[in-house]
Symmetry: C2
Subunit: 433 residues, 2 copies
C-alpha cells in the first residue's frame, strides 16, 4: 500500500507555505482594493484557482481575478484591468487569454491578475474566464479538508501519467475536473476504480443530455452550467491512458504513480534506418495555447502530405520550447525514381486520352493493371527535406507560424549529432507502471 | 487504312505451306490407320486444332487426336495411344495434358499425337481434350473462307497485344474463342467494335445462364456444350487490355497491331532507388501450365508476405524460361530497426498483460495510441533477402517447386550487373498503340 500521508507531505503545501500564500494573497487584494477605491473603479479582487479552493500543490500560482461591474464596456474593462495589474506588479508582463492580463512574480511565486466581468449563476452565455469564480464557489462549498487532499492526490497521479491540464499542449483533465471527480466519486481510490472499470466514452452524470450534443470521449457536466462539458479538452488518448493507468495502479500501487513527470531531457537521435527530421520554427511571442494549436496544425499538415507523397510516416511529435519543433520519423528518406500513376478505368472514354498523354512520356507503360490503365512516371521530388520545404511553402500553417515560415529549418538530427528536447519527448512516450 | 491482304500474306500460310501441311497430315493419318488395322485397335485419327479448322497462322503445329472407342478402359487407351505415337514419331517425347501423349517434329514442324475417347454431342461430362473434335466440327460448318481469314487477323491482333492463348502463362483468349467471336460478330472489325464498346464483364450470348453460374469477367457460351464457358481462362486484365486496344485500333489503325510480340530481350536493372530482387528456381521438367501456376503461386506468396512485413512491394513479375524467375520491386530493402506492435484496446482486460509483457522489452513504450496500447519493438529480420528466404522456407509453394526450393537463389540484379529476361519482360509492359 501507498503511504498517502508521505506522498502529500512531499507534494502538498506545508503549513509554512500555506501561511506565506495567505499573507501574499491578503497583500495583493489590499493593493487592488486601495487602487479601485482611489480611482473610483467598480471592481473587486477575487482569489480563484487551486489556491482559492485549497486544492493546490506545492509552489502553485496565485490567480486573482479583478471582477468588474457589467456597466463597463469590454475595452474599458480591459484597459482598467491592465492598469491595475501593472501598478500591483510593476515587473509584470502582459499576456492574453480571453481578456488581456498581467502576469508577474513575487517571492518567486507566479502571480496572474486577470480582469473579468461579474456574473451570476444562470445569467446566460459568458466567457469561460468570467465563469471561473462560480467554479471556486461551487468547489469550496462541496469539498471538505479530506476531499481537498484527495484532489491533490488525483492531480499528482494525473501529472505523473501525463494527462493533467486542459491546455492544447496536453488535452487532458483540468484542476476543476479533478475537483468535480472527487466530489462525484468521494475519493481518489474510487475515481481510479471508476476509470479502470469504464469502457468507451465516459459520461457524468450517466444520463446527461450533453452526451447527445457532443461526441467528446469524456463528458463531465459542469454543475454551475448544465450546458457545458467541463471535460471537453480531454482527448481520446488521454482518456485511454487514464483508464489503463488506473487499472495498473489498482493492481499494483506504487509511488511512481505520484512522481511528477520530468520535462524531457534533450536526447540524441538513434539510427534506426529511418528518416528522422525536425522542422524548427522560431517561437512567436504568444501564449502556449495559440502556439500549440498552430504547432499541432503544422505537425498534422506535414504528416498528411508526407504520407500522401509516399514517405510512410511512422510517428511524429511536437515540442514547444524556445522554438517550435515538429519531429517526423518516416520509413523512407528518398522516394523511388518513379511512381505508379493510375489512370481511368479502361471502360471510361478518358482511358484513350490517358494512353496518348503518357504514351511517350512515361518511365514504363502505359499498361493495364486490373481494370485500369496506368503509367509509371518519374517522381519529381524525391528527397524528404525538399518535400517538407515544399509542403511548408504551399500550406497555410496558421496565422502566427505562417509569419515565421521563411525562417523554417529542416534538421537531420543524425547529421548534426546534436541532442534535442523533441527527441527526448518522443523517445520517452511511456506508460507509468 | 490497313492493307489486310498484305498482313495476311505475311502471317497466314501461303499455298505452298498449305500443300505441305496437307501432305504431312495425309501421311500421318495413313501411318496411324495402318497401325490400328495391323493391331486390331478400334481407333481413328482426327485432325484438330487450327490446321483442321483452316484458321492456322504460319508454322502452326499439327494436332492429331487418336480417337478411341469407349470400350477401352482409360489406362489401356492411354497405353495404346502412346504406343501408336512412338511408332509414328520415333524421336518424339512424352508429354502430359489430360492424357499422356507423344510430341515430336517432322520437317521442322511440331506434331502432337494425342489419344482421347470418342464422344457424341450431349453425351455428358467428358474431358476438354475429348471435346476438341466437336469444336473442330462446329467451326468447320460455321466459317467460310473469308471468316477463316478474319479469325487469322483476330489471332494476330491478340498475339500482338499479348492476350492470345488460354494457358496459365497468358490467361487470354484461345483460338476457339477467336473462332466463336468471328462466327458471332461476322468479322474482325465488328469483334473489335464489340470489345471497344463493352463496359464491365462480357457475356455472349447476352442472356446466357452462365452469367449467374460463374463470375468470370468474360463469358462465352460454348455452342457444343451450353454448360461450358469457353472464355473461362480470360483474366480481368486481359479483357481490359482487349477493350482498350480495340478502341485504340479503331481510332487509329496501324500495322503495329498485327506485329507479333517478341519474346522479351534480357535487360539490365535500372537503379531506381528501390529494392529489386529476382527469386530464381531451377525449372522442373513439366508442362508449362503446371510450372506457370506454381510460379504464379510463388509470386503471390512472396509479394503478400513481403507486403505484410512492411517492404511496400511496388510491382512483381514472373518469367519462366530455363529457370523460374520471380521479380519483386519494393520501396524498402532494409526495414527500420523497430516496428509498432499494436496491443489490445485499453478497454480490454488484456491491455494490462500487454503492458507487463512489453514493459521492459520494448524499444519505446508501451504507450497509448488513440484507444489502444502499443509498443515499438525491435524488428527481428530487416533485410529483404533474408526475409525472402524465410518466406520460401515457411511457405508451401506448390508440389513441384517445393521440391527445388533448397536450390532457390535471391539475386540482386543491380549487384550482379547481369541482364535478365524477367527484367526485360517487366520493363516492356506496354500498351500497343
Amino acid at each position: 500500500m501507498i503511504d498517502v500521508q508521505s506522498v502529500l507531505s512531499r507534494y502538498a503545501p506545508d503549513p509554512e507555505e500555506k501561511n506565506n500564500i495567505e499573507r501574499l494573497v491578503h497583500n495583493l487584494e489590499s493593493r487592488i482594493r486601495s487602487i479601485t477605491a482611489r480611482d473610483g473603479i467598480d471592481a473587486e479582487p477575487v482569489l480563484v484557482g487551486s489556491v482559492a479552493k485549497h486544492t493546490n500543490l506545492k509552489n502553485a500560482d496565485i490567480d486573482i481575478f479583478i471582477v468588474f461591474s457589467r456597466k463597463y464596456r469590454t475595452t474599458e474593462m480591459e484597459k482598467l484591468g491592465l492598469k491595475i495589474g501593472h501598478e500591483v506588479l510593476p515587473e509584470g508582463v502582459e499576456r492574453y487569454a480571453e481578456h488581456p492580463y498581467v502576469s508577474g512574480a513575487i517571492e518567486g511565486r507566479k502571480i496572474d491578475l486577470v480582469p473579468c466581468f461579474r456574473i451570476d449563476k444562470g445569467s446566460g452565455i459568458v466567457s469561460s474566464v468570467d465563469r471561473t469564480p462560480l467554479h471556486t464557489e461551487y468547489v469550496l462549498s462541496h469539498l471538505d479538508r479530506e476531499g481537498q487532499d484527495q484532489v491533490r492526490l488525483l492531480k499528482l497521479f494525473m501529472k505523473a501519467i501525463g494527462v493533467y491540464g486542459s491546455e492544447v499542449r496536453t488535452r487532458g483533465f483540468s484542476g476543476y475536473v479533478c475537483e468535480l471527480l472527487i466530489i462525484n466519486k468521494k475519493n481518489f481510490q474510487e475515481v481510479l476504480r471508476f476509470f479502470s472499470e469504464s469502457k468507451g466514452r465516459i459520461i457524468i452524470p450517466s444520463d446527461s443530455d450533453l452526451a447527445k450534443k457532443y461526441n467528446a470521449p469524456f463528458i463531465l457536466q459542469d454543475p454551475t452550467d448544465a450546458s457545458r462539458n467541463a471535460g471537453a479538452a480531454v482527448s481520446m488518448e488521454n482518456l485511454s491512458r487514464m483508464k489503463l493507468e488506473s487499472r495498473l495502479y489498482l493492481l499494483e500501487p506504487s509511488e511512481n504513480f505520484f512522481t511528477p513527470k520530468m520535462e524531457p531531457a534533450p536526447a540524441l537521435a538513434r539510427n534506426n534506418g529511418t528518416a528522422l527530421r525536425i522542422i524548427r520554427l522560431p517561437r512567436p511571442d504568444l501564449v502556449d495555447d495559440i502556439i500549440f494549436s498552430q504547432g499541432e496544425r503544422l505537425r498534422k499538415i506535414v504528416v498528411e502530405h508526407l504520407q500522401e507523397r509516399g514517405f510512410h510516416v511512422m510517428d511524429s511529435d511536437l515540442y514547444v520550447g524556445e522554438t517550435v519543433d515538429v519531429l517526423v520519423e518516416a520509413e523512407i528518406g528518398i522516394l523511388p525514381a518513379f511512381v505508379r500513376h493510375y489512370g481511368p478505368p479502361v471502360d471510361s472514354e478518358n482511358s484513350v486520352d490517358f494512353v496518348r498523354k503518357w504514351g511517350s512520356r512515361s518511365f514504363r507503360g502505359p499498361y493495364v493493371h486490373e481494370d485500369r490503365v496506368c503509367a509509371d512516371i518519374h517522381q519529381e521530388m524525391r528527397g524528404i527535406d525538399e518535400s517538407i520545404l515544399s509542403i511548408l511553402e504551399r500550406s497555410n500553417i496558421g496565422k502566427n507560424l505562417q509569419a515565421v515560415k521563411p525562417l523554417a529549418k529542416v534538421i537531420d538530427p543524425l547529421a548534426t549529432g546534436e541532442a534535442f528536447k523533441v527527441i527526448g519527448k518522443y523517445y520517452s512516450r511511456n506508460i507509468v507502471s
